[in-house]
Amino acid sequence: MGKTAMEERPPGREEVSFQVDRVSPGERVLSFSGSLTVHTVGGLLPRLREFWTTENPAGILVDVSGLRKVDTAGALFFRELEGESRKRSLPFAYRGASGMLEGILGMVPSEPDVLPVPPARHPGFVEEIGKGTVAFFRDFVRVTGFVGDLTLAVGFCLVRPRSVRWGDVLHYMRRAGVDGLPIVGLISLLLGLIMAFMSSLQLRQFGANLYVASLVGIAMVKELGPMMTAILVAGRSGSAYAAEIGTMIVHEEVDALRTMGFEPVRFLTVPKVIAAVLVVPLLTLYADFFGVAGGLVVGITGLDLTVHTYLRETMASIGLFDVFSSLVKSLVFAVIIAAIGCQRGFQAGRSAEGVGASTTSAVVAAIFLIIVADSAFAILFHYIG
């Protein structure tokens, strides 16, 4: 039936006409014709309001025999009319209702079944602070718990090295290490160049050109080499670890691991931590080398130093202890990056948004902890060295 009505509809704009007839002193007949749809209902609303304010009917009869088409909006319009009549305790009836109208009215009950939903509560300022504090401590507890799990897992793998998935370790070493070589080299080279150039502007005034070499060497090896490398690895690999584990959670792969009796922390985190611990110190040495090379370029081209002089000055300013402490630092940074990346991945929710948030959080938290650890090392090495 509905189909026929659709076919009969003339092309062009849909229109509806509405008229009120007074059949007896109180009873009003509201006649509709045309199409009462989402496109035409809007025009009727002011006229309906006007009807209720000007007329004072004792009964309503709605003549719908002239309607060719009614959609959900049209049906809602009639339900509204019914509701208003009920509120005024007026008798209400339809005349000439087609099967189509009855069908659509059946889909829009006057009192729809609504699931009982508690009204949304907007927490106050104090509640927000409380929630934030609780969330912070929960996060702290989770991270601590994760560090415990990770320590146990690493301990287990040290006792049973065969349980480590060495294929995965190699895979992650390539991803974090080999694939990171170009960007780490480039950034370090530029860092060396910038440092040498900026410091030369100042030192030249005092005829202390030669000290550019030691400045770049010490800064790169002691601080910037380990830190820049760690920040780059956190951005490249820490985020990747979080995204990988987060996606595995979304795809129920972590659940599958658990049901197969695998310890997810051991299975997924240990290879990443081992790979990072092996690769980040090497990357740091590589960054140190490129940083010094960047300084060297400025030294030769801008400061009239020879390669030999520059390198001799650099080597004289860096001790074995400096290189060693730089490697120790980078090792700790590596553990931080891999552990935080994995931990944030494990706490990602089961949604794409959760994975995104965990990835961001992995990078931010890793960089923050790297800098905190670096400050601690600065004090520690001051007293040791």
Partner: protein, 266 residues
Amino acid sequence: MAEGKENAGREPVLIVEDVTARFGEDVLFEKVGFLVRRGEIFAIAGESGCGKSTLLKIMIGLLKPASGMVWVEGVNVTGAGEEQMRRIRSGMGVLFQSGALFGSMTLGENVALPLREYTDLPAPWIDRIVRAKLAMVNLGGLEDRYPAELSGGMQKRAGLARAMALDPGILFFDEPFSGLDPVTSAELEILIRRIRSAVGSTMIMVSHDLPSLFNLADRIILLDRGARGILAEGDPREMKRDAVDGRVARFLHRAVPDEKPEEVGE
């Protein structure tokens, strides 16, 4: 408690005792209890949001219930320690909704994983078992493919091969038919039936796809959000015939079309 005729009297392999689950502050279901006997195909049906996936996760020990206990092969899963859990899990397989294959591993490596973890079989033997399992689910020869190279139905079958790697006594299925076209769905039904008769595993499935469950299950429980628990339990066909409770009747008749196609209309 209504039970499938052929399985009545067999020992129970899984007992769920007064389990209550909450989602935040909402109670999903309260004091749900049933038992599954060895060799049965047992189905938990219900509409989305009734808590059936939560119940499954509680049964396989991934979630702890708010209260109640789950016994699998005589061990209390809800209170089991790591080592006990590991032993129980070696005897159960789970097919997750999406297959949950590890994307970084080939199909062969996925299926081999539990074999490597739980057995000390030499590598060639593991390969032979992997090939056999994949052939069982009609994926023979695809050992070296990665999950991303397969269709959804194939991934699900590969997930089934991995769940069956150790020939577990109990196989759990989470929405096995969701996302499958009717033909693939029917193929999976046949496969599940074949595996049951070949391996004899007890199968517990959770699904909202009542027609498929009715074809397969020996016994079924209907979980209902409104009732916060089990709405009905028993043989699916009898349940449909005897449905007196308005809600059960509505639930069943809506989900399962009548057997005679001419009554359904065009």
